[in-house]
């Protein structure tokens, strides 16, 4: 189990225009969703976690060690990130080569890399497509190939940037299973996401970013009960939670199952 400590983290692309204005929190074993308006600094934050950007002030500690002294390559052995747009990530002309690329770059031998890659393709449901050109896959399956590429690296920390883009019901269910499995295997899972129903279903903790600050940080349920703060941050409650609010329930239910269960218990 790895820990990530974020201490007084500041960042700006242009001097005088701070994107992150002093973040302080510790990422623990709970699967964590970072939510917030477009432009709230979510992607910037995860780029800092990957060492792709350097903080202007403050620091990030990975297992107690400051990442600013580590190279991007060294960080990549610990922290994997699935890009928002798979086209930014994928460049090989065969799915299997693409998925083996990351493992090979972080020093796995070819045989292990192949085993890990095939396992990862199995998990995302693309085992049959291993010889396909990733660009012949539709956007939803290309995104799954991008996820497999990171899973194969077997890093302690896995970051997903908008994992549900272009996914239908089955795709979302598959990604939910992947996230739950990673979490149960002791991996640290962090996601940036706009799909509140998905967060309600899978994530244990939610952090709300707004104007460069983490303005809410609690269990998913507690965060989603804060209707007004969410709306001020250009977010909204998950759909089932909206219904609970409209019906004047004191308790909020995160999804259909909880709602039905709660209703049955009251009968």
């Amino acid at each position: 189990m790895s820990t990530i400590e974020v201490k007084n983290l500041h960042f700006s692309y242009v001097e005088g225009d701070e994107i992150l204005k002093g973040l302080n929190f510790v990422i623990d074993s709970r699967s964590t969703a970072i939510i917030g308006q477009n432009g709230a600094g979510k992607t910037t934050f995860v780029k800092l976690l990957k060492g792709l950007l350097k903080p202007t002030e403050g620091e990030i500690l990975l297992n107690g060690k400051g990442i600013k002294d580590m190279t991007v390559a060294a960080i990549a052995k610990h922290v994997g990130m699935v890009f928002q747009n798979p086209n930014d990530q994928i460049f090989k002309n065969q799915v299997l080569d693409e998925v083996m690329f990351g493992p090979l770059q972080i020093g796995m031998d070819k045989e292990t890399a192949k085993i890990k890659a095939l396992e990862a393709l199995e998990i995302v449901g693309l085992a049959e497509e291993k010889h396909t050109n990733p660009y012949d896959l539709g956007l939803s399956r290309r995104k799954l190939a991008a996820i497999a590429s990171i899973l194969a690296m077997d890093t302690e920390v896995i970051i997903f940037d908008e994992p549900t883009i272009a996914q239908d019901y089955a795709g979302k269910e598959r990604i939910k299973d992947i996230i739950r499995k990673l979490r149960n295997d002791g991996k640290t899972v962090i996601t940036i996401i706009h799909d509140m129903n998905f967060v309600a279903d899978v994530f244990e903790r939610a952090i709300v970013f707004a104007q460069g600050h983490a303005i809410l940080d609690d269990s998913t349920k507690m965060v989603f009960l804060q209707k007004e703060i969410l709306e001020k941050s250009y977010l909204e409650q998950p759909d089932v939670m909206k219904l609970c609010y409209e019906l004047g329930f004191k308790e909020g239910f995160l999804n259909v199952e909880e709602f039905i269960q709660g209703k049955m218990n009251k009968r």
Binding site: G36, Q37, N38, G39, T43, Q84, N85, N87, G138, L139, S140, R141, E162, T164, I165, A166, Q167, D168, Y169, A170, G171, H194, M196, N197, E231, Y234, L235, E236, D239, V240, K242, L243, E246, L247, F249, N255, V256, F259, I260, G262, K263, K266, R267
Partner: protein, 284 residues
Amino acid sequence: MARIVIEHLKYKYPGTNKLALDDISFTIEPGEFIGIIGRNESGKSSLCQAIAGLIPNFYKGAYGGKIFIDDMEVKKVGVEELCETVGIVFQNPFNQVTGSKLTVYEEISFGLENMGIPREEMIKHIDDAMELLDISKYRDRYPFDLSGGQMQRMAIASIIAMKPEVILLDEPTSQLDPQGREEVFQAVQKLSKQGITIIMVEHNMEKIAAYSDRIVLLEDGKLIDIDTPQKIFSRDDLDEYGVEAPVYTQICRELGLKDRSSGYYPITLEEAKRILSGDRKGEM
């Protein structure tokens, strides 16, 4: 105001043996807001590309049947002519950015320049579209420096600026924050009320249920159903098509609560609230 008639449409991508669109027929009235749902690779994007004429004129492949937009047969007119009537917003906004323009403002002007719209009129169209999508503040930014959500708004604005009579949107809000998504739905609904026909592919069932006049359900390239959201989401066999009903419908179905007047399950927050408040009689 354009009426769309699709007659026995069949299509196969080059180098494949399977029909991506398999004998689809239906009619869309001017100003309708049509939602297209179905599992991935059921033909949703292909159907959009066909209505926009990119199938078959750009993608080639084997094509059968006909699509008419008023009296224009899509296959027979060039994409360059059709794009004055039909606009399409791609699934991945990155694929839509021209790459030949240095600012958001110029990017949105691209379509208008190519249509030869007079300067004064162009400026007005661009300003209106930027305002509708709330991106005026990014007007001087470089298109590829935008975030995913900002780029998605720009892509929609650049189509709206061309003032087409039909707008096709392929998952236009996937990268937007929840309020941004709601704003785009409202902006698009406003256009639909002005008589512009809207055809939207979307996986967010709560939104598509709340905004569509009718929903097209596709499976394996075939048209399974086209009907009002209430009727579509009250079907018992949705899971066979890889589709989930809105959470409001799921809850009311579990509890056996139908709308007495229509005989269908509720599909929106408001409908579910109405039925559940009647049902619960102060229980919870």
